[in-house]
Structure formats: C-alpha cells, structure tokens
C-alpha cells in the first residue's frame, strides 16, 4: 500500500505538471458552452438572423432541451459522447507518454509491483476524468440557470446529475481498456484511432438495435434514459473493463520492452 501511495504521488505529479488535465478540462467546457449557445440562438431568432447564423440545428437542440429534465438528459448525452473522447485523451496521455517520452524503461527494473504502478495510473485517469466531468456538470448547471430553463427543482437536478454521474462512471469503465492500446501501440496514436472506430461502431450498434450488448454503446443508451439496457449490459461493461485492465497488466508483466 505504501508503494501505491508513492506511485500515486508520481502519477499525480506527472499529470499536474504536464498541465494536460487543465487543458483537457478547458477544452471539454466547450461542450456545454456550445449547447448553451445553440439554445440561446434558438431562443433569440432575431439575433441569429442578424448575425446571419443558420438556426435550424439550434432549434433542434433547443426543442429537445426546453426544460431542466430534458436539458439534463442532453447534458448526459454530451458527456457520454464528448466525454468519451476526452477520457480517451487522458488515458492515452497517462499510459502512452511513457512510451513516447522513453521513460517506461525506468519503471521496469524497480522494486515496486507493476500492479501498483498500473493501479496508480488508472486512479489518476479515473480522477482526471471524473474531475473533468464534475466541472462540466457544474458548468452545465450554471448555464441552465443562466438561460432560465423552466421545470427545475432540487429533485429534478439531483436526479439529472445522478444520471450524468452514472454515465461518467460507465464511460470511465469502458475507457480503461484503452490503456492496453496505448501500451501495445507504444504511444498515443492507436488508442486515439481506435476511439473513433469504437464510437462509429457504437452508433452502428444503436442503429441495428444491439447497443445494449456493445459495451461502448451502453453509456450512451443509459444517458438517453436506459431504454433497452438490461442487467447483462452492465455486466458486459464491468467484464470489458476488468478484462481490459487484466490484459494491460499481463502485457506490462510479460511483453518484451524494447523501448
């Protein structure tokens, strides 16, 4: 356990000093900000005409978020799709950088369990992602208040926020296996490329009505109001996450490290 706290210190220090958590969080804030802007445009058609902006898409967004409950569903959807990319960015950085910077070799012949090193890395990814999501949620709620959405009450906001929080947990769970891709690909490129492929596949699974069995589609379906999800869907997410972490551990333990 002592080793784990030392490893956690190392991983936190590396992440904070890289300023990546700050920049990714700042970047992610454009998601709720963008939605707020579209709702604002839809509510002010005069302004959008003056500015020469096309408001059809804004109207679409605005009609789907006319009150607090629907706005919170929209927020959860944004977090499930947009957050996925930002979380992938976090995990790609935490794992891939050791290969890109050539620093992995310094952690291999040391008297610390590889599992402690990996656990510290996963913890930082989870904290980084959850922190990013929390700031987005708070920011989204403030925006909701500013644009004066109707139908808001403490219980509605609490329920909506819980949905966002569970969505975030589900996404973090399905993002953790991407550490394996960062390790096997020895850098950032493979997990980033596979994240695009995964999201496309998730959408495809939703179109063909099998989203509940595709782990990376489950958070999106959950954000939309559970829909077709069954207990099996959640088990698939848990198993995918654990299998990904186990595969990453085995790779770190037994693969040749030439870099």
């Amino acid at each position: 356990m002592n080793n784990f706290s030392a490893m956690l210190w190392i991983e936190l220090r590396k992440a904070i000093r890289s300023r990546m958590p700050f920049w990714t969080t700042l970047g992610s804030l454009f998601m709720p900000l963008g939605i707020a802007f579209l709702i604002f445009l839809a509510k002010n058609p005069e302004l959008s005409r003056k500015l020469g902006l096309v408001s059809a898409k804004a109207d679409l967004i605005a009609y789907s978020a006319t009150d607090w409950p629907s706005y919170l569903v929209l927020l959860a959807e944004i977090v499930s799709a947009g957050g996925f990319f930002f979380f992938i960015l976090a995990i790609s950085w935490v794992f891939g950088r050791e290969f890109a910077d050539g620093t992995l070799k310094d952690m291999l012949a040391v008297p610390v369990r590889r599992s402690s090193i990996l656990l510290a890395k996963y913890s930082v990814v989870a904290a980084w992602s959850a922190g990013m999501a929390l700031i987005n949620l708070i920011f989204g709620l403030v925006i909701g208040a500013i644009i004066q959405l109707p139908g808001g009450s403490l219980s509605v906001i609490l329920h909506g926020s819980t949905v966002v929080a569970i969505t975030v947990c589900l996404i973090i769970a399905v993002v953790l296996p991407f550490a394996l891709f960062a390790s096997v690909g020895r850098g950032y490129l493979l997990p980033m490329a596979l994240s695009v492929l995964t999201l496309i596949t998730a959408n495809l699974m939703m179109v063909v009505g099998r989203a509940e069995y595709f782990p990376w589609a489950v958070p999106i379906v959950y954000a939309q109001g559970e829909g077709t999800l069954t207990p099996i869907s959640y088990w698939i997410v848990i198993i995918t996450s654990l299998a990904g972490m186990l595969a990453t551990y085995l790779w770190w333990m037994y693969a040749d490290q030439n870099r």
Binding site: W9, R17, D101, K105, D106, Y254, N258
Partner: protein, 309 residues
C-alpha cells in the same frame, strides 16, 4: 568470489535474426566489466535481458544471485541502471525527476535527492525542467537516477555518450570510486575501446550477438600488435642490411621500413647498432603499438573493410 552477473547460453532471436547468441559470461564482485561492441552488436539487447525487460529465447541470466524473470521485483532494490539514451519527464525539474526515481526505490531516504545532485554536479540545474537540459546534463541526470538508491550493482549502457572530456573524467572517477571504496560492481557497455580500457578491469567483446573474447586489461596490452618502424636516408641499403642480418624487414609504401618480429620489437637498440655499423644509420626509429580501436576492429574482423574505404 561472488558473481553479481552470470549468464548461461543467453540468447535472443527476432525471427531469423539472432540479436544475441549463446552468451555466457560472469562478472565478479567489485570489478568494472566493459561490454564492448559496435552498434547493433547486441549490447543493449543483452542489457535489457539482464534487467528483465526482454525475455531470452535461450539460456538465462542471474543478477545478484537471482534468476531474472520478466516483471519480477527482485533483485532491483540493489541494482541501478541506465539503458540507451537517458530519458526523463521533460516537464518535471531535475529534482522532481530524481524524486520520482527515489520513490521508485522504496526505503530510499528523501535526503538522497540533494546528495546525488551534489555528487553529480547537477546543482545549477536542479530547478530546471529536464526537457531543457543539454545531452550531457541529461546523461548526468540519467546516472543520478541510476545511483540514487546507492546500488550494489550498476548496469550502464554507454554511460559516457554525449559527455564532454571533463564529464567523461568525472564519470570515470565516480565509477572507480564506487568499485574501490564501496565494493560495488559495474557492468557497462561501450563501443569505444580506448574509453573503457582506462576504466575496466575486464572487457568482453561482442560482435553480431556472439561473445568473441573476454580479456583482462593486461591481456589487452599483450594482445595488441606491435611493430618497429624506422626511416633512413638510404632506405634500400638499410633494408638490405636488415634482411642480410635475418630480420624480416618490409618497405612500406611511404618508404618506412617495418619490422614485426619479436627480436626487433624487444631490441630496437641492436637494430640501430646493425644499421650504424653498416653505415646506413636510421633517421627515425620507433616501436609503435597498435591503436586500441584498430585492435578492436581487427578482432571483430572489420579492419580490412575500413582500410579499403
């Protein structure tokens, strides 16, 4: 005498390529063992196998009496290492990078960070980000990381790479101090024989994955080729005199007379007397020892290739 490093038939294949083949060597406690080879000879692959980063396809390696396995935690508490180019977290300062290295070796007291900074003259750079260091200082930082936990065994891959002459002398003194006063053992790779000959007690020469030769430093001196070179105003006459006296003299292209036999090398005074008595005195007479690098290239069979270039 204990052997901090021992390998038996250690080998690594990548497809049809044998990066290291049946390597058996022993490094004794308290010695500096230099592992010499050209680029691509198999030095780094061997070092990675010793450190449990690469799985051997044949044989095994023992480090500090422990058989090396991938992912093991032992015996690394007593081993310091630097593999290939030194890398550090670019956004962390020198001190922070050393703090990371310290925490990777539980039990190492916090004060060692300051001590190692002083020992490796990194004081002026302690607060500087590692990404802005010169190659030489990055190399010092790499060595500092390897030494921070006061290891019994140091495994270093080309430790003098990128260092200026003063840095090389400093590292040499540091390694000699480690072995002489602290009883530590050093296994270091290099591709420059002259560099390691001043430091190592024993040298292992690897070429194309094979251990060609293992020799002590005095054997190295004995094995190097020597020859007597002389010049005279009348080269032809001097040559005739020497041949008539039974000496295997050869006139080289530049008009220098070369003698490679033991008598000539051991008794240049007698050769001089012969020539003076025959009224063809030498204008220049010297025993030349084969350059270390020439000797190394001769061993790995590349001398002819270089001469033809």
């Amino acid at each position: 005498m204990s052997t901090p490093i021992e390998t038996a038939d250690l080998g690594k294949r990548y497809g049809d390529v044998r990066a290291v083949d049946l390597l058996s060597l022993r490094v004794f406690e308290g010695e500096i063992y230099a592992f010499l080879g050209l680029n691509g000879a198999g030095k780094t692959t061997t070092i990675r196998m010793l450190l449990g980063m690469i799985k051997p396809t044949t044989g095994y390696a023992m480090v500090l009496q422990t058989r090396v396995h991938l992912g093991n935690r032992v015996p690394w508490e007593s081993v310091g290492y630097m593999v290939e180019d030194p890398h550090a977290y670019p956004e962390l300062t020198v001190s922070e990078n050393l703090e990371v290295a310290r925490r990777l070796h539980p039990g190492t007291p916090p004060k060692t960070v300051g001590q190692i900074i002083e020992r490796l003259s990194l004081g002026p750079y302690a607060g500087r980000r590692a990404g802005t260091l010169s190659h030489g200082n990055a190399q010092r930082l790499g060595l500092a990381k390897a030494l921070i936990h006061n290891p019994r065994l140091l495994i270093l891959d080309e430790p003098a790479n990128g260092l200026d002459p003063a840095g090389i002398v400093e590292i040499r003194e540091l390694l000699l101090e480690l072995t002489s006063t602290q009883g530590g053992t050093v296994f270091m790779s290099s591709h420059i024989l002259a560099e390691v000959s001043r430091l190592a007690g024993r040298i292992g020469i690897i070429h194309e994955g094979h251990l060609l030769q293992e020799l002590n430093i005095d054997e190295l001196e004995r094995n190097r080729k020597r020859r007597l070179l002389l010049r005279a105003r009348d080269v032809e006459s001097a040559h005739r005199v020497l041949v008539a006296a039974g000496q295997p003299a050869v006139i080289l292209q530049d008009g220098t007379i070369e003698l490679k036999n033991a008598f000539s090398i051991e008794h240049p005074d007698d050769i001089n007397r012969m020539l003076v008595n025959a009224d063809t005195p030498p204008t220049q007479l010297m025993v030349e020892e084969e350059e270390l690098e020439q000797y190394f290239l001769r061993l790995v069979g590349m001398e002819a290739g270089l001469q033809n270039e």
